[in-house]
């Protein structure tokens, strides 16, 4: 079997380096010694049984876990483009502008479509109409939503369909021109057609952004991701190019999971 392995690919520049990361909610450990280099301008999928810590890991990358009282990193580090994001002098707001996030349940604000997209600009004090208009259009184009909403930019965002709302959230996240896009099961609540649209979109976005996506669908991981990381019980079990991981898993646990005989 080992001889069948392709030669190791040329090392890609890593956008995010996670080293020996341990994380706990209060005293309860959720991540243990995760070491993972996520390559730039690639899509990396995180898969694993539910409760294994995929979301927790993702939420460490933009430090949104800071919101949860008692949640903290107990060991290890995360570097983005070589900078330790857990250093005390990190500007959290700036970090989050650089690392966008899309949540499992679409959560547009109860404002107009337009105001949702330009939200991050307004936060940075940009109120010039032309600038806002340009950004809104670019972001909505990039999120493949422009044609559907261009005539009703100023209507309520909550009036959009589920798939449109999720793409709006993507547009909102990329409006501040981040480098990295984190997505936590973005298609979990969507129908297959809306899911397909988002997957197509991911292929487009990959050119500009480093994308980390959590998914519970192995099919989705195979369709979209360049690399896949399999996690279980807070540990990283295996991290390899997607096709290799699914076709020739190294680890018996991975094998059990991808063949569906897990548990």
């Amino acid at each position: 079997m080992v001889t069948d392995l392709p030669p190791p690919a040329a090392p890609l520049p890593a956008a995010i380096r996670i080293a020996d990361l341990c994380f706990a909610y209060h005293a309860k450990p959720a991540l243990q010694q995760i070491t993972l280099d996520l390559p730039a301008h690639q899509i990396t999928a995180l898969i694993g049984p539910s409760g294994c810590g995929k979301s927790t890991l993702l939420r460490c990358i933009n430090r949104i876990n800071d919101r949860i009282p008692g949640a903290r990193i107990t060991a290890g580090s995360i570097h983005i483009h070589g900078i330790d994001i857990n250093r005390p002098d990190i500007d959290l707001q700036e970090l989050r502008r650089r690392v966008g996030m899309v949540f499992q349940k679409s959560n547009p604000f109860p404002k107009s479509i337009y105001e949702n997209v330009v939200f991050s600009l307004r936060l940075s004090g940009i109120h010039k109409r032309s600038e806002l208009d340009a950004t809104a259009e670019t972001a909505l184009h990039a999120a493949a939503l422009w044609d559907e909403v261009k005539d009703r930019l100023h209507t309520r965002a909550l009036g959009l369909s589920g798939g449109q709302q999720q793409r709006l959230c993507i547009a909102r996240a990329i409006a501040s021109q981040p480098d990295i896009l984190l997505m936590d099961e973005p298609c979990a609540a969507l129908d297959p057609i809306a899911t397909l649209k988002i997957e197509e979109l991911l292929h487009q976005l990959k050119k500009q952004y480093t994308i980390v996506i959590v998914t519970h669908s192995m099919a989705q991981a195979t369709r979209c991701a360049d690399h896949t990381a399999f996690m279980d019980l807070g540990r990283l079990i295996e991290f390899r190019p997607t096709l290799q991981l699914f076709n020739t898993p190294h680890h018996p646990q991975t094998l059990a999971y991808v063949t569906g005989s897990f548990g």
């Binding site: 933009n62 949104i64 919101r67 959290l92 707001q93 700036e94 970090l95 989050r96 502008r97 966008g100 996030m101 949540f103 349940k105 959560n107 547009p108 604000f109 109860p110 404002k111 939200f119 991050s120 307004r122 936060l123 940075s124 959230c169 909102r172 996240a173 501040s176």
Partner: protein, 631 residues
């Protein structure tokens, strides 16, 4: 039918199950509530709607008896008296303003002496009565009494009021003269007398340059004498006519009741008796034409009196000084100047109005409705004529609510935002129960605190000279719109706070998370996402607070001052420091005393209906906002 059909299917329920009984119990409770609400509304309408025909008749009597005619003249006479009073107040304000220092010095010296006299009166009087009695006073007892008096004098002298306008030496001299005063002396201390004389002299000095104004004012005062006499004379006549008409109305009502009873009488004999009674109650038709003709004969005299008055007042504007140096006097002068043109215009129109007035112009029902909704007077139980104009009450209620909301919105909503968004756990645990506790204070207790503490403190503060620039200061009435508004604000803060806090709490956490993930700071998340998302809910909270404020009775009854008059807006924002009455207060105050079924009684019901409609409208609007704010 075959026999098997009658056997119930084996799954079908049999008899009256417990489930059905429970269902019925709850359904009947809900039904009962609705029935009671409908009954309440029906009762309100039944009692209230009879008001308008009744009030129409009262207004008709007001016209046919000639009271309305007299009021045409009387209104001008009243305006003249008011104008005259304002001008006189301006005159005295000017003089007293110029002698302010003398006035204060004299008042302070007198106050010191009065305070002493009051405190030592008891022991002083004992000595005097013992000396006066003529009996040879027991020298030992007298010595004790003198000792007591000396002690009380010492005590009184230790607690004299402050005298900021007297020099130290003067105060010392005054105290000295009091301390060494003969018991039998009846004279005031020399300083008191001297200062009083100084004040009188100053008054005289300052009055001299104003002699011209004094003359003008005296002439102006005197100008109303003729009209006044005429009005008093007519008043007696029309009041008699009105009484006759009302007596006739009562008899007529008795008669119709008896006739109606006769129609339902059981035996022919009883019917005969009732009809006979009705016959005796048949009023001789009240003669209104005779007195009316007599009244109409006065028309020329009235017109002439108006013409005279107008002539006498024509020069008044020119007779007034261009300006007065004292601020209060100047303010009053300006008030008078502003009122004079309208007064003169009314005088000018009066002859025509008097000439055209007719007693037989019909009074339509709409006139009663209009008079109720837009009337500026709520006069009841008076000897002259009752008016049920809701405006003074409505304005009072609205002004009090405005004050309450202006204070309660920032406090309640601000506290809700702080507690929900920024407070630490500990702060939350303290602030929330404390604010909610306010709700537990019975409103009558709150009203009582309002009168004793808040009203008095505010008035005392307003007496400071250095605060005289605040509009409406110094406050004349301890109980006023502002005090009531403050207390109602206190009462509505818990409502607004609790509901607004709920609204903020109901904003999904996902919004805050999304906002944080986009790089918003704490404050940005609160003010750009959470508060806007809770906006409808906060608005609903404010509206429900308003509903509570408008419907509140006890506090306004105790604290608003209960003066039925539209506040005088000529003093600007100071209008909020005047007393007022309210829609709720008037019902609480008057309903217990009115005769059942009278027009006044029904008027209060209509006020109740109006109140009900306002609060219902507010709550319905709030409800709309609440349902819109569901996320």
């Amino acid at each position: 039918m075959s026999k098997t059909d009658e056997v119930p299917h084996r799954f079908s329920k049999q008899g009256f199950s417990l489930e059905k009984a429970i269902r019925f119990f709850f359904a009947s409770n809900a039904g009962l509530t609705i029935v009671i609400l409908v009954l309440i509304i029906a009762f309100l309408l039944k009692e209230g709607l009879g008001f308008f025909p009744g009030y129409r008749r009262e207004l008709e009597v007001y016209r046919i008896a000639g009271l309305e005619f007299v009021d045409l003249s009387r209104s001008n006479l009243t305006a003249h008296e008011q104008l005259s009073s304002v001008l006189n107040r301006a005159y005295f304000a000017q003089i007293n303003g110029l002698c302010a220092s003398e006035l204060k010095r004299s008042q302070e010296a007198a106050a010191v002496f009065n305070a002493y006299s009051e405190r030592s009166a008891a022991t002083h009087d004992l000595i005097v009565s013992n000396l006066d009695a003529g009996i040879a006073p027991d020298s030992e007892m007298l010595a004790t009494l003198r000792q007591n008096h000396a002690a009380s004098t010492r005590k009184a002298l230790a607690e004299l009021p402050a005298t900021p306008h007297l020099t130290r030496a003067e105060r010392a001299a005054l105290i000295q003269s009091i301390a060494t005063r003969e018991v039998s002396s009846k004279d005031d201390p020399p300083l008191v007398t001297a200062l009083a004389a100084q004040y009188a002299a100053a008054q005289q000095t300052h009055a001299e340059p104003l002699a011209g104004l004094r003359g003008t004012l005296d002439a102006f005062d005197a100008a109303g004498t003729d009209l006044s006499a005429l009005v008093s004379e007519m008043t007696v006549a029309v009041t008699a006519t009105k009484e006759a008409i009302q007596a006739g109305d009562v008899l007529e009502k008795n008669r119709t009741t008896l006739v109606a009873a006769a129609a339902h009488a059981k035996t022919p004999a009883a019917r005969e008796k009732l009809l006979a009674d009705a016959q005796t109650s048949l009023a001789a038709k009240t003669d209104i034409d005779g007195p009316m003709q007599a009244l109409m004969l006065r028309k020329p005299a009235c017109i002439a009196a108006h013409a005279d008055l107008r002539q006498a007042c024509a020069g008044i504007l020119d007779g007034l000084p261009a300006a007065l140096s004292q601020p209060e006097a100047e303010r009053l002068l300006r008030v008078a100047r502003k009122a004079i043109p309208a007064f003169m215009a009314n005088l000018e129109q009066a002859p025509q109005r008097i000439g055209q007035w007719r007693h037989d112009t019909p009074v339509p029902l709409t006139a009663a409705i209009g008079s109720f909704l837009t009337g500026k007077d709520w006069v009841t139980g008076g000897e002259w004529q009752d008016f049920y104009g809701i405006l003074p009450l409505l304005v009072g209620s609205l002004m009090i609510s405005l004050v309450a909301l202006c204070l309660a919105i920032p406090a309640g909503v601000g506290a809700a935002i702080y507690v929900n968004q920024f407070a630490s756990r500990l702060e939350q645990a303290v602030i929330k129960p404390v604010i909610e506790f306010i709700q537990a204070i019975p409103s009558v207790v709150l009203g009582f605190i309002g009168i004793l503490v808040f009203g008095s403190v505010l008035r005392d503060i307003s007496q400071f000279d250095s605060l005289a620039w605040v509009p409406g200061f110094p406050i004349e009435e301890r109980l006023n719109i502002f005090t009531a508004g403050c207390l109602l604000a206190l009462m509505s803060i818990p409502t607004i706070f609790t509901l607004a806090e709920d609204a903020l709490n109901n904003v999904p956490a996902a919004y805050a998370e999304a906002s944080d993930a986009l790089g918003a700071s704490r404050i940005q998340t609160s003010f750009r996402v959470i508060i806007p998302a809770a906006f409808s809910g906060i608005l609903a909270a404010v509206l429900l607070g308003l509903g509570r404020v408008i419907g509140e009775t006890m506090v306004v009854l105790l604290v608003a001052g209960n003066r039925i008059k539209i506040p005088d807006f000529s003093s600007g924002i100071g209008a909020f420091l005047q007393p007022s009455h309210t829609l709720t207060g008037i019902i609480a105050q008057e309903l217990g005393e009115v005769p059942l079924g009278s027009v006044h009684y029904r008027a209060l019901f209509v006020v109740g209906i109006l109140l009900f409609a306002i609060v219902l409208g507010i709550n319905a609007t709030a409800h709309k906002f609440v349902s819109r704010s569901r996320h």
